[in-house]
Point group: C2
Chain length 428, copies 2
């Protein structure tokens, strides 16, 4: 147990240095920050705020879990009521999910919104609210309401402010997940920032998946909503740590237009360009969540090709990514094509069993290792397989041989002893 | 590692003594046995046969995995061709699944059928064939074909013969799964014997789920097929060790009528009586498979009540039973209603979130422990919860509060360090 804790500590340090940026290129017109207000018992950051200098377009994708947390219900209502227009800020507390908390929980979430709006002199209902942490307990709402004006005074737009904001939404995450980039459309520079949290679910800290994208591009609410759905489908909905979906999962986007330029609608010529940029960006952010999967020692890309449809390709990829047997084999560094094939076979998708191919694509750029060709097993060079499986990153490519030509990517991690330790033994 | 192996060894001994019967009440007109013929490298039993003295009705439910093993394809064809009539025997090899073996594999399976039929002077295609074990390798078919006449000479109808037959189909199972019982219909005594194997999938020994029921009641093929589907839906399709479905899964039934009496068809008055008997029996056998789940330390019954439909109740139960987070919480003896609720919430079924109840039903008959009442968390007595979770057996009762009144049961085990060790570390 002590060895495991030590190993996890060192893994954390190494992940921090690998995946947390030292600088960034952030969108104009946003200020962010985070403080400790007293939700978490230790003194770590637990209240994060993000403020746009001007009211922005906003969109969100919420959990489909039937037990929707209070902040999910409240934020969804606000976005509906305002048709995704005039959203100025986001407030997030970590340490308590405000889920399964009844009417009182809804009132608490509304109070958080009202306090942000009145402090900033926003129009009413201009703020989205999110929570992550323990479920079934009421928020320490007084601490939060007292903290909000303090947090809002302490916002800024430096790299350190963004990093602090990303830290403020963490629960069991071992490192803050923050990405940023700039890109050009028609000669104009736009920037994107993304923050996320999530590392499987640990109760009492049920670690929700939260993700935020904010840009200074001018995008209509309708276009932003379409882009977010498309990007989420191909990023946060294509990752699996343990297959469970929490009561609080929320991915949201804001576009304030601070960088100027013509407003981008669904029919604009720039629409597909910005959709592609945001999708790639969302994938980058989602992959960080997988890298921080509880007890993860491997980062696995599952690439499914030649399916009849994108949906079929995704079903097969998801079936593999969620197979406990496959995930333990990866942890054991075992070139077990049987388990991969098995998971392909029970997915609800068209497969040509006589034309199915399975290969390992090594992360170091060396030649692929074929495991199954046209439904027949290859004689596998076990030494070569071991070499490939020693690397942290691995891509598994499956061709379903249907002639449909459709493709999907999915990202997952392995299932380790440490996962069981974190999720089963945390009381000891 | 050595401690784990030792623990598993002692767990095996204790399971053997608890779940393997010392005697039985077997159906008339069957002879069974098993030998070592040389499929497995060690000298354990690897070829089992079951022979009915007269041609019998037969039915089977096969894996829905798209990569169907050769014996699955061959047995299905035989049952189709003969409309489930005139089946005299079953032959099973363990140690090699004859899966993903192409045309040669089909030929091997057909040879096994032909050799049994010619040795017994059966009509052609009177034998069903099954295989379990490594996938992707051709059978050592000569050893098997030489072994078949030897095995068929050495059959009997004693308890020891039935036990030997159950041992002959084992791969990674830690104990043979054999049950038998007698029951009366209209004053006539009938008997049932059941054998099963399965303990999660371990590659290279991908441990298929196989199950057999044989009875001396006279049942038409149509009625038997209906009964088997009904019973399997409520037994083998209601268990989960790790959620994966193999290329070889097969549940089959035979009814030879050796006990006499009027033939039972779908319209007979005795139909529902024998269907209920076989269903209860199938549940008993399926539960043994869960008890032998890889690394299992807990046996968990999930009882979902007040669903809109049986299908909905089963979906919710299955969602909980397959949640890695729930299963690790059970291993950690943690009364984590949040994870249960979460799995309820993402199942594709009607749920009244304001009327959902969750309770622990202790195995020792003491009072239930309410965790969630009408969607609101109870103050849980942690000491009482710990007491309940110390027991090997536990029932979790969930009421969905829909007013539909439908109910389903599901059986599962926990997810332990040992599961990861068995499935990830077996090469070390």
């Amino acid at each position: 147990m002590n060895n495991l804790k030590l190993a996890r500590f060192f893994a954390t340090i190494s992940k921090e240095s690998k995946y947390v940026p030292n600088s960034g290129s952030y969108p104009l017109g946003y200020k962010v920050g985070a403080i400790h207000c007293g939700v978490k018992k230790n003194s770590t950051l637990d209240l994060a705020v993000l403020v746009s200098e001007t009211p922005a377009s906003a969109a969100a994708v919420f959990t489909t879990n039937k037990f929707k947390a209070a902040p999910v219900q409240v934020s969804r209502q606000i976005l509906n009521d305002k048709n995704g227009k005039g959203i100025s800020s986001i407030v997030v507390n970590s340490g308590n999910a405000n889920a399964v908390t009844g009417k009182g929980g809804i009132e608490d979430a509304l109070k958080m919104v009202d306090t942000v709006d009145s402090t900033l002199k926003n129009a009413p209902s201009s703020t989205l609210v999110m929570s992550t942490g323990v479920i079934g307990q009421r928020l320490p709402i007084d601490n939060i309401l007292k903290g909000i004006p303090v947090a809002l005074k302490d916002v800024g737009s430096s790299h350190e402010d963004w990093l602090r904001c990303a830290q403020g939404i963490m629960t069991t995450d071992t490192f803050p997940k923050l990405v940023s980039k700039s890109f050009e459309i028609d000669g104009r520079k736009y920037s994107l920032a993304g923050l996320a949290k999530g590392a499987g679910m640990i109760c009492p800290n049920m670690a929700t998946l939260l993700g935020f994208f904010v840009t200074d591009a001018p995008v209509t609410p309708g276009a932003l909503s379409k882009i977010l759905t498309y990007a989420t489908d191909r990023s946060f909905n294509c990752i699996s740590v343990d297959g469970d979906m929490s009561t609080n999962d929320t991915i949201c986007a804001m576009a304030n237009g601070a960088a100027g330029g013509e407003e981008i609608s669904e029919t604009s010529s720039q629409f597909s360009k910005i959709q592609d940029e945001i999708t790639l960006f969302a994938q980058q952010l989602a992959q960080l969540v997988v890298r921080d999967g509880e007890g993860a020692t491997k980062f696995i890309t599952i690439n499914v090709q030649d399916a009849q449809s994108y949906a079929d390709a995704k079903k097969v990829a998801s079936s593999i990514a969620n197979s406990a047997l496959f995930k333990t084999a990866m942890y054991g560094k075992d070139a077990n094509w049987g388990r991969i094939l098995c998971a392909v076979g029970y997915a609800d998708a068209d497969v040509n069993v006589l034309k199915t191919n399975v290969s390992f694509i090594p992360a170091d750029g060396s030649a692929e290792l074929k495991l199954l060709v046209n439904g027949e097993p290859e004689k596998v060079d076990e030494e070569r397989a071991s070499e490939i499986l020693e690397l942290e990153d691995l891509e598994i490519r499956i061709s379903l041989g249907t002639g449909g030509g459709q493709e999907a990517n999915f990202w997952t991690c392995d299932l380790s002893h440490e996962y069981v330790t974190i999720n089963g033994d945390y009381r000891s």
